[in-house]
């Protein structure tokens, strides 16, 4: 099964090629079959590989596969090669399984769209690129996948290309992430310059041998890689593109902008964690950025009215948790939260997609309501997703992964109570905005008739993801509850982490976190279901209204960047549209024409002028001769 590794990305790529070349001539049925089938077979291969990996672990817990020689320059050779290890296996499983479910869902969601085959072509290209990214055994191939998923993100955000707003959101996403990518590329150059290879394992080994902990070069390299991760994973200060990315079709938001691509930054840092361990300053920065991002995005989510924007800010905030975990060295906790988040956030997005489709393409939650009765299956699955996101104690996957992060933040040497408090506050906010969304959308009175009822192809993925949003958490439970360590054991060959001690504190923190989570849900219930007038009156007051506006516009980052970067760039482009260097040359030409015009004026045909010219010339000439 492992020998078929290359097929995992190759199949979606093949699907893309088939759909891109012949898609317009195929029936929708065939398109759906090719698009979903290719990802489905990849998912089966991934599951098979996982089983084989667990039953018969390969040597060193890594299975390499080399395909062909890519770039060869003066003794250095870069191959296109993959490596399957526990970390990439977790990623591959999530990408293919969640990807398959979302493809299945899309076959119905996009049914009425004229760009049906184009949609599946792009989605397949995305899955292929994402698998290349996570399977790459070297940073160069990883970069290829990295840019590839960025391209697909661009294409799918701007999928409905007729509206320039979508195009703008798509370009914003691409350019902002590319800014980070460029930093990352420089990081690759720096690593290559020092070690002469892009192979990740070789790089990490060489780095830990040659660079002492705290080395300046290591910090520089880690910081540059971090730049790429910040852009891709929409963390401060490069988070601005993700809320606008919601312009794409909802399955795209679920797959690319929630479950998989936006967590590529988390994967990159986890993959190069050796380097980050050598740069404690940068690693602390990761934790601080994570904590700040989870709060900023959480507060922004509370103020949104568009259901997809709530989820978008929530995604930024949850990835903030993953960064917090990475920053305190809780590598497997970050990956655990990545996995559970992929399940429940994909579920929430897909649920939101059904709601939007059922409510005449309306995105504003406050124009919806009462959907609990009309879409019961969607309501219950959405509720499970929301509970998982709010880390409802004991029963949800989100509880176990978030709890692990909070505990590690508290107990880790590089963590501390301040970061933990930020995480805890974030958990409170998360519960509020999540259940605000649930109460406003599904409770209260109905305001619109249903325009579309979901069929089996939409409901089955919801059901499976709901199951995973609960069951997915029981692969790793804390010492106080069951002490299951399947997940971290599986990843141990990659991360080699220590387990923290102190069960008494752990229990205390868990109870605190549980209370906070429930309190948030209650607050949401009180303000948005029980006494919505109270919340309404509160927002009427000037200072609170101002804060709400500030949160609504995502803390004003867009406003700031527009003035700092966009407007100056446009200004320079506009004033220099005609290329001032060119005017230098046209100036020479104009000067020549001018001189020509002046001199030709002297040719008057008037004999007296000529005589005087000769006389003056003679005098001048004689004068010069005599004086010198």
């Amino acid at each position: 099964m492992n020998d078929l590794l290359f097929l995992m990305p190759a199949l979606p790529f093949a699907g893309f090629v088939i759909l891109a070349l012949t898609g317009r001539r195929l029936s929708k049925m065939t398109v759906a079959l090719v698009g979903t089938g290719s990802v489905g077979i990849s998912a089966l291969l991934a599951v098979g590989a996982a089983i084989e990996f667990i039953v018969r672990p390969p040597q060193n817990h890594a299975f390499p596969q080399t395909l062909w020689s890519w770039i060869q320059v003066s003794g250095y050779s870069q191959t296109v090669s993959f490596m399957l290890d526990p970390l990439s296996l977790v990623m591959v499983l999530v990408v293919t399984v969640v990807g398959f479910l979302i493809h299945l869902y899309s076959t119905e969601f996009m049914l009425e769209d004229e760009g049906y085959s184009r949609f599946f072509a792009y989605m397949n290209l995305f899955v292929g690129s994402m698998l290349t990214l996570v399977l790459a055994d070297n940073l160069l191939l990883l970069y290829l996948g990295w840019e590839g998923v960025g391209l697909c993100s661009y294409l799918l955000i701007g999928f409905w290309y007729r509206d320039p707003v979508n195009g703008r959101a798509a370009r914003k996403a691409f350019v902002v992430t590319r800014t980070g990518d460029t930093a990352m590329a420089l990081g690759l150059f720096l690593l290559f310059t020092n070690f002469g290879t892009f192979n990740i394992q070789a790089l990490m080994e060489a780095a830990s041998k040659q660079w002492p902990a705290g080395s300046g070069t290591a910090a520089f390299a880690a910081a540059l890689l971090l730049g790429g991760a910040l852009g891709k994973s929409a963390q401060l200060p490069l988070q601005v593109w993700l809320p606008d990315a919601m312009a794409g079709p909802t399955p795209v938001s679920a797959l690319i902008h929630a479950a998989t691509m936006v967590t590529a930054g988390v994967y990159l840092i986890a993959r190069t964690h050796v380097l980050f361990e050598l740069a404690p300053m940068v690693q602390s920065a990761v934790a601080i950025i994570g904590a700040a991002t989870l709060l900023v995005a959480g507060f922004s989510a509370i103020a949104q009215r568009d259901i997809k924007r709530v989820l978008a800010y929530s995604t930024i905030s949850q990835i903030g948790y993953m960064f917090l975990a990475l920053g305190v060295g809780a590598w497997s906790a970050a990956m655990f939260h990545f996995m559970t988040h992929a399940f429940f956030k994909a579920l929430l997005f897909l649920g939101a997609g059904v709601v939007i489709l059922a409510q005449h393409e309306e995105h504003d939650m406050f124009k919806m309501g009462g959907l609990r009765k009309k879409l019961p299956a969607v309501f219950w699955t959405f509720l499970i997703g929301a509970a998982s996101l709010s880390a409802l104690p004991l029963v949800t996957a989100g509880f176990y992964s978030k709890d692990l992060i909070l505990w590690k933040t508290w107990s880790s040497a590089s963590g501390g109570s301040l970061l933990w408090a930020a995480g805890l506050l974030g958990a409170f906010i998360t519960s509020i905005y999540t259940f605000r969304m649930v109460f406003v959308t599904f409770f209260g009175e109905s305001k619109m008739e249903l325009s579309h009822r979901p069929g089996a192809r939409m409901l089955v993925p919801l059901a499976i993801l709901a199951f995973l949003s609960i069951a997915g958490g029981f692969v790793e439970t804390p010492g106080t509850i069951g002490n299951i360590t399947l997940f971290s054991n599986f990843l141990r060959p990659v991360f080699n982490e220590q387990t923290a001690e102190g069960a008494g504190t752990e229990l205390l923190l868990q109870v605190t976190a549980s209370i906070v989570s429930l309190a948030g849900i209650f607050a949401a219930y009180y303000f948005f279901l029980r006494k919505p007038q109270t919340a309404g009156n509160l927002v009427q007051r000037a200072p609170i209204a101002a804060i709400q506006r500030f949160w609504f516009m995502g803390f004003g980052f867009d406003w700031l960047y527009e003035r700092l970067f966009i407007n100056p760039f446009l200004w320079i482009a506009r004033i220099n549209k005609n290329d001032f260097i060119d005017s230098g040359y046209t100036g020479i030409a104009a000067l020549n024409r001018g001189l020509h015009a002046v001199l030709s004026k002297t040719q008057t045909g008037n004999i007296r002028w000529y005589a005087m010219g000769i006389a003056l010339g003679a005098v001048l000439f004689l004068g010069i001769v005599l004086l010198l």
Binding site: A170, A185, Y585
Partner: protein, 502 residues
Amino acid sequence: MILLWLIVIPLLGGLAAWLLDRKKSEATRWISLAALSVDAILLILFWPAAPSPFATSHGAWLIELNTSWIPQLGISLHLAVDGLSLTLIALTLFLGIVSVLCSWTEIRERVGFFHLNLLWILSGILGVFMALDLFLFYFFWELMLVPMYFLINIWGHENRVYASYKFFIFTQAGGLLMLLSIIGLYFIHGRETGVYTFDYALLLGTALSSKAAFWIMLGFLIAFIVKLPVVPFHPWLPDAHTEAPTAGSVVLAGLLLKTGAYGLLRFVLPLFPAAAASIGPVMLVLAVIGIIYGAVLAFAQTDLKRLVAYTSVSHMGFVLLGVFAMTAPSLSGAVMQMVAHGISTGALFIIVGMLQERMHTRNMDRMGGLWSSAPRLAGAGLVFALASLGLPGFGNFVAEFLVLVGSFPAHRIITAAAATGLVLAAIYSLWIVQRAFHGAAKGGTTLRDLTARETGMMAILIIAILWLGLYPHSVIKTTEPALKSISSFLSPQVEAGSGGGK
């Protein structure tokens, strides 16, 4: 002899096309296509016969033709190719065939004379890539200039006369400086050794005082960087590219600019290694300025063709950076960029040409929404816009990557500044896609999608650019020995600069 045939066949083909025009204008297209195809077949037949892996020590060439021409003045008919020339010759014939194809319906007046000019330009370019006698080199340098002037002047767009003058004056001024330098080198070498010759191989080791070397180098350098072009010598380019007919733009961007880069590699570095190294820092800074300045200007344009023209200024900045960083990866990257840019920008000009043929405008304000009516055209446009922004998987990425990775060890700040070009390229490339292909359809007119001929042309170009991106090895392997022999002249600098890979 094969080298001479490669040059002569297009010359004869052009004449035949011109003469046949009086009888049947359609035949001229087929004649031109046939002439270039014969050339291409000759090249392909030769290719496997070349010694693998194109290893040529300094002074030895893959094929060489050396007969005396005007012995009294030391002028010889000296043609030779190494892997570098071979790659560029292949590019020339490839784009030559493409430019005949893309003129198939666009050019309807004086068809024979058009093809005469087109084929003669190609002959001149082939000659430039082969000539190893400086006098002969200068001859070919001029041979490609004059027909190009006619091409712009006769078949160009609205402002063609201005553009053709500007093109001619800029390149001719550069060429004149080069001529002075050639003559200077000729006399200095003659005075010192008693052998008056224009032969490249003999002139290579000329002992020059550093002052003389600097001034003579400067003459060559200016001719080549005007052609490349390097900011601030670029203003001829946007006008010439915009006003030229499609085939002219393809040849200009795809090939003529490359003769400048080729000149730097073939003449400036080996003949004047010390002088070139001394002016290196200036060139690196100009390269970065070109990358950024060209990209910002490209973004500002509303004329799609002018936009694409300015992107060339930006992309050629990477070539200059690669050449003057003088490391093995950066030189390979510069050559990759020459080939990849030839294909991607050539393709973009063809796409603009197809749009103009259909819409009779190049103004992006009047485009938009083409995706719905012409999906194949828009799809091709998207692919080459992405290639142009350096997306991995396309040849341009490999090129820019190698240039940057090669220049990084010794010039970190320069490299970081050049890397911002990657962001700017994304901005202008996606802007093209937005303005031309996305958005709402304007005016409600539906556009004819690509015909079979156009689809085939685009398919070949797309395969080529993907091939370069996924298997660049084919180009790198071919050119590497040649680049090694070039950098052997620079050995002290290269040793110092090649920190990578150790």
